[in-house]
């Protein structure tokens, strides 16, 4: 598997209306690895994620996924088609269904046919990872605390039985104890389910614990590519912005 990339983005431009957010961005997420995407806010991390999912249409460049060794061009696919392939996003701001219960939210995660088969198994897995959700399975999600909602968002992604998981800032709003646990969980999910993970994250210390490599995006351009966690830590930009050095 080594070397054959699971997600491959080449030279994309993307934006909203007349506003150009991404310029000539390339990025590779090799199969079975966890890649962290760094960048201060407003630099286009979420836009990049959305471009992969088909929520934003890049005006140039290619987005390709390799699934079971078979390359798939994602350009022109709708989000639902992308998700059907097993590429799942935990979106910024969680995007839960507030007037549905925890359990209903999770079940909806398993909508894609491949995930339905594993519904029971995945549900048990979610409740094992987040016991709080098992306690609150009948609570309306809208009434949960911020952190609890973050748990639902992650769990819902698990329910989709992802092959490639995109996570947009998973640690936002989580208590420290949960941040490290979430990172471990993503690592564990990756190990258990054989995932490939692309994660946008601000909490550098936590992110590098599980990251195999990383990118830094500045003003919509790829500013740095770190082949390993150590390389990232040594980068000037990262040291300045994330480590306060």
């Amino acid at each position: 598997m080594a070397g054959s990339s699971a997600l491959e983005i080449r030279g994309i431009d993307a934006g909203y209306g007349a506003v150009r957010v991404l310029e000539d961005v390339s990025l590779t997420v090799p199969a079975g690895e966890t890649v962290v995407l760094l960048g201060t806010n407003g630099n286009g991390k979420s836009t990049l994620m959305r471009s992969i999912m088909g929520q934003v249409r890049p005006s140039a460049g290619t987005v390709r996924a390799v699934l079971d060794g078979r390359p798939v061009d994602l350009a022109g696919l709708s989000p639902e088609q992308v998700v059907s392939l097993g590429i799942v996003l935990v979106p910024e701001g969680r995007r839960l269904f507030p007037r549905l219960t925890v359990e209903q939210n999770l079940r909806l995660g398993a909508y894609r046919p491949a995930a339905r088969e594993r519904l029971a198994e995945n549900l048990a897995l979610c409740f094992e990872m987040f016991p709080r959700l098992a306690e609150r399975r009948a609570q309306l999600v809208g009434s949960m605390s911020g952190g609890e909602q973050q748990m639902v968002a992650l769990a819902r992604a698990v329910m989709s039985a992802p092959r490639i998981l995109l996570v947009d800032e998973p640690s936002v709003g989580l208590a420290p104890i949960l941040v490290s646990r979430t990172m471990e969980m993503i690592a564990e999910m990756k190990a258990r389910l054989g995932l490939t993970v692309l994660m946008a994250e601000q909490n550098f210390h936590q992110a590098v614990r599980i990251a195999d490599r990383g990118y830094v995006i500045v003003h919509g351009r790829m500013a740095f590519e770190g082949g390993s966690a150590a390389a990232l830590q040594d980068n000037e930009l990262v040291r300045k912005v994330y480590l306060g050095l």
Binding site: L96, R99, R107
Partner: protein
């Protein structure tokens, strides 16, 4: 039996039967209005249109109105998806649905009503199955089949809908789609397709309710007026997105109306029923059977 008790019991039973008709009319709305947030004020007009279709087809083929109502439901499903397509194209896609959609459906309501006048004339139309003249007697309680048969059909249709909504993934998606359509796409669901289906279902239910209405009473193109306030009130009282809530509210509404009519005269029954709704809303803003979020 004490005559007053007998009156009361009969009032309750006939109220429940009337509630069956209301439930039929409101259940489709619980989907479009309650779940999709589409204020389809033309729903009762669609119901009456369904009634006209039932009479036309039923008379031509000599079939039972309730049977025709069920058979024609797929056609109305398609009509519903068509209306939704227009709605989506002109409003939803542009993010202007909430209020503009209301005006749109007001227009649809006029078009249907006057269209029916132009097609069939303003006269009353009817199609009575044989059982419409049969009344069962259980002790001192009368159960006219004219009211019972439609109520049972309504319950069956609502039961099927309920199973569909609670047991299927599509049903779950219908419940979620209005809350965040964009997020639903991240669950591999096409929200537009889901809404189209759901709206089609709601219109199909309107057509079934139209069949029920035909059995209960003759109809004319403006018959829907009396239902507009009632069905929306019932949906609200039922807690919007809750089908079981809407059914309970429909029964309650029917019973309140009929018991009031029995003891205080029919003159005040709408005021009592709607006044009561105001009261319910004042105490429980989320409806009688709704859940606070």
């Amino acid at each position: 039996m004490d005559p007053t008790v007998s009156l009361l019991l009969n009032g309750i039973v006939s109220g429940l039967l009337l509630g069956g008709l209301y439930a039929a009319a409101a259940s489709g709305l619980a989907v479009s209005f309650g779940m999709l947030d589409i204020v389809n004020i033309a729903h009762p007009a669609l119901m009456v249109a369904g009634g006209f279709a039932v009479i036309l087809i039923g008379t031509a083929l000599g079939l039972d109105p309730l049977l025709v109502a069920v058979l024609q439901a797929p056609v109305f499903y398609l009509l519903g998806t068509g209306i939704y397509r227009a709605y989506n194209h002109f409003f939803e896609r542009r993010g202007d649905e909430a209020l503009q959609g209301l005006a749109f459906f007001f227009g649809v309501m006029f078009i249907i009503e006057v269209g029916l006048v132009m097609l069939f004339g303003p006269e009353q139309r009817f199609l009575d199955p044989d059982y419409a003249f049969v009344t069962w007697r259980l002790g001192e309680i009368d159960v006219p089949l004219r009211m019972l048969a439609p109520a049972l059909l309504a319950m069956a249709a609502i039961g099927a809908l309920w199973l569909f909504l609670t047991r299927s993934f599509t049903g779950l998606a219908i419940a979620a789609v209005a809350q965040d359509p964009e997020a639903l796409r991240l669950m591999a669901v096409d929200p537009v397709r889901i809404k189209r289906m759901a709206f089609g279902i709601s219109v199909a239910l309107a057509a079934v309710a139209g069949g029920a209405l035909v059995v209960v009473q003759p109809i004319d193109p403006s018959s829907h007026h009396v239902f507009i306030g009632r069905v929306f009130a019932i949906c609200i009282m039922g807690g919007m997105a809750s089908l079981s809530g809407a059914v309970m509210a429909a029964f309650l509404f029917g019973v309140v109306e009929n018991v009031t009519a029995t003891f205080y005269g029919p003159s005040w029954s709408p005021a009592v029923a709607f006044g009561w709704l105001l009261l319910v809303l004042a105490v429980r803003p989320q409806g009688l059977f709704g859940r606070a979020a």
